[in-house]
């Protein structure tokens, strides 16, 4: 297995979609390739960072929906009902 093959199928490897006999081939490559181990770890960190960064923090989440938006939605309902 080459680095290219491992990285091309990394998502399937991490999500457990690779059959056991093929996983062994991935793991053999990871045993001897620190660069691919680093790629795998940083790929996983990327997913976690993306997810955590886009969750609104408490100070970003509107405590309540802006009043003018509520008014606009209810007014639009009244005209389309």
């Amino acid at each position: 297995m080459t680095c290219r093959e491992l990285i091309d199928f990394l998502m399937e490897y991490l999500s457990g979609e690779i059959p056991p006999d093929q996983r062994v081939v991935f793991e053999d490559h990871l045993q001897v390739c620190p660069s691919c181990v680093a790629y795998l770890r940083t790929y996983e960190s990327t997913i976690r960072l993306g997810k955590a960064s886009l969750e609104p923090t408490e100070d970003e989440l509107p405590a309540e929906v802006p009043a003018e938006l509520v008014d606009a939605i209810l007014a639009a309902r009244a005209t389309t009902a």
Binding site: C3, R4, I7, M11, Y43, E44, S45, L49, L74
Partner: protein, 211 residues
């Protein structure tokens, strides 16, 4: 799929289920107060979802308004086995995607420059190194969250959208494919490329030093 109740917001009360049933009954009976309550209860959280997809406040508010109007029209078809927050989440995503489609004007930049490069023998052209700080600790800092959001915004829309749907909104591959009218294989390919491109953009900031 993510439930809006899992977002950092005042937790649902113990009688949330009963409250929700009563709300749905009020909506089906056409009670004005029930409609107002539906908007006040979930509007803020739906706005946060729309902002993730659309970036600008005006478009996000439009998408939330369109989502609510669609929800009002469709309330008869709401399956009470589902949570109303999950149902609204799906509707606002749809409205945001519609808006994204209508405003997409210019051709996308290719993503290829952000994907890893390989020599003919399959080795990486630029060897990868571990990051000094894990995502868990880094993301606690505001400047890191801003950096990651900025990098996500730099992804071409067709990749950014798949990343948002799959990794952030936690929508399954098949549902993502249906929402975007593309194949499941295309969803998987775009998601992998989007993650790789985001990793490339983040790498200089985390490589070899604490971000």
């Amino acid at each position: 799929m993510k439930d809006l109740d899992t977002l950092p917001f005042p937790p649902a009360s113990k009688d949330a289920d009963a409250q929700e049933r009563s709300l749905v009954q009020g909506l089906r009976a056409g009670k004005d107060e029930a409609y107002a309550q539906l908007v006040r209860l979930y509007g803020g959280r739906l706005l946060a979802v729309a902002r993730r997809f659309l970036g600008n406040e005006e478009d996000a508010r439009d998408a939330v308004q369109e989502a609510y109007l669609l929800a009002f029209r469709s309330i008869e078809g709401f399956d009470e086995a589902s949570r109303i927050s999950t149902w609204l989440h799906r509707i606002v995503i749809n409205a945001s995607l519609m808006k994204l489609r209508t405003r997409r004007r210019k051709p996308e930049e290719p993503i290829d420059d952000l994907l890893p490069k390989f020599f003919e023998d399959g080795h990486q052209v630029q060897g990868s190194v571990q990051w000094k700080e894990s995502g868990e600790t880094a993301v606690l800092r505001k400047e890191v969250r801003v950096l990651v959001r900025t990098c996500i915004d730099r992804l071409p829309d067709s990749y950014r959208t798949v990343l948002l749907l799959r990794d952030i909104e936690e929508i399954e591959t098949e549902e993502t494919a249906r929402l975007l009218a593309i194949s499941t294989n295309a969803v998987k390919t775009r998601l992998h490329r989007a993650r790789q491109a985001l990793r490339t953009l983040l790498d200089p900031h985390f490589r070899g030093k604490a971000a």
